[in-house]
């Protein structure tokens, strides 16, 4: 049970990330437990293998290349923002025109009477309701259309 606790914390122990009490417990235990000591050695071995042994060398013109890329990305984002702005403007313009046309038709309905009609059509519509050969209800409408 105690060995299990120790083995779970060996990695953190080697990194110096445990409390003083835990560190003391582990130190004391390792002196007496062969199995845990072997596992500690295993972790030391893995840490030695994986730790950084080299520095990656960037090319000499890294900064100048980066500068160029940043300038390019700036231009690209500007282009994008211009396009976005113009699209917004176009949508706004359409919206304003649509609203104005709507208001015009709502408030100022065009009159049906034209001063100089090209053609005039007059007609009469009748709706009669019969029941057992008797007229019960009739509606006659005279209508005129001018173009």
């Amino acid at each position: 049970m105690f060995c299990k606790y120790i083995q779970k914390n060996l990695s953190a122990y080697l990194d110096g990330e445990l409390s003083r009490v835990s560190e003391h417990l582990i130190k004391k235990h390792i002196l007496s437990c062969e199995n845990c000591r072997r596992k500690l050695e295993f972790f030391i071995w893995v840490i030695r293998l994986t730790e950084k042994k080299e520095n990656y060398q960037l090319s000499k013109d890294f900064v100048s290349n980066l500068e160029q890329k940043i300038i390019k990305s700036k231009v690209d984002t500007k282009k994008q923002s211009i396009f976005k702005l113009s699209l917004k403007k176009v949508i706004c313009c359409f919206g304003v025109v649509f609203i104005m046309v709507g208001i015009y038709f709502l408030l100022f309905k065009p009159s049906h009477k034209l001063e100089y009609p090209i053609a005039t059509l007059s007609y009469q519509t009748k709706s009669i309701y019969y029941s057992k050969n008797e007229i019960i209800w009739a509606n006659v409408v005279n209508q005129t259309r001018r173009w």
């Binding site: 042994k53 960037l58 890294f62 940043i70 990305s73």
Partner: protein, 194 residues
């Protein structure tokens, strides 16, 4: 030692924040000061993650472009280096996910190209083999385990800092690092008792 390290980090962070404020004020050159300061660390992290000599440089440039784009939104709530490392890890992860191509033809173990004169040719060969095995073992780890291991081994960051960078708890860092080391060790050797 930890206290001294913290004071150093605090001072470094204050210097960084000063540089960032200058950049926010319109001084473009301030950004390149940050690049000069952190390019080596960032490139080491990226190289450990990408494992490709030629593509690492592109990835590092991409990391700094991302930093440039979002530096104005940096709110100084966290230290700059934790923020930078989280950007670096995210870009590397994205790169690995998107461009997970066939393994590089270039040998990965560049540091063993300089032979140690104290070693016999046989020892050099053995060492090369071990390094290759280590690299392969790290490559086989999942993204979560790999990020923790790289941040610990490359930069020697504390568990607290790693937790902040990866936005996980300290306990998770501890268990992930433990598991990563066991997996790498198992992969390298025939150590099957753990």
């Amino acid at each position: 030692v930890i206290g001294k390290k913290n004071v150093k980090r605090e001072t470094e962070n204050m210097i960084d924040i000063g540089i960032i404020r200058r950049f926010k004020g319109g001084e473009e050159e301030a950004f390149y000061e940050l690049v000069m300061k952190y390019k080596e660390t960032v490139s080491n992290i990226a190289y450990r993650y990408i494992r490709d000599k030629y593509e690492t440089e592109d990835v590092v440039q991409e990391i700094f472009i991302q930093v440039y784009k979002s530096l104005r939104n940096f709110k100084e709530k966290s230290t700059f280096f934790t923020w930078l490392y989280s950007v670096a890890i995210n870009v590397c992860r994205y790169y690995k996910r998107t461009y997970n191509r066939v393994e590089s033809i270039v040998p990965l173990n560049t540091y063993l190209d300089i032979p140690d004169i104290r070693l016999t040719p046989l020892q050099i060969l053995e060492n090369k083999e071990i390094v290759e095995r280590v690299n392969m073992a790290i490559d086989k780890l999942s993204d979560e385990l790999k990020s923790v291991l790289i941040l610990k081994e490359v930069e020697g960051l504390s568990y607290k800092d790693i937790a902040r960078i990866l936005k996980i708890s300290v306990g998770t860092v501890k268990s992930r690092l433990h598991n990563a080391r066991i997996l790498v060790g198992k992969e390298i050797s025939d150590y099957n008792n753990i």
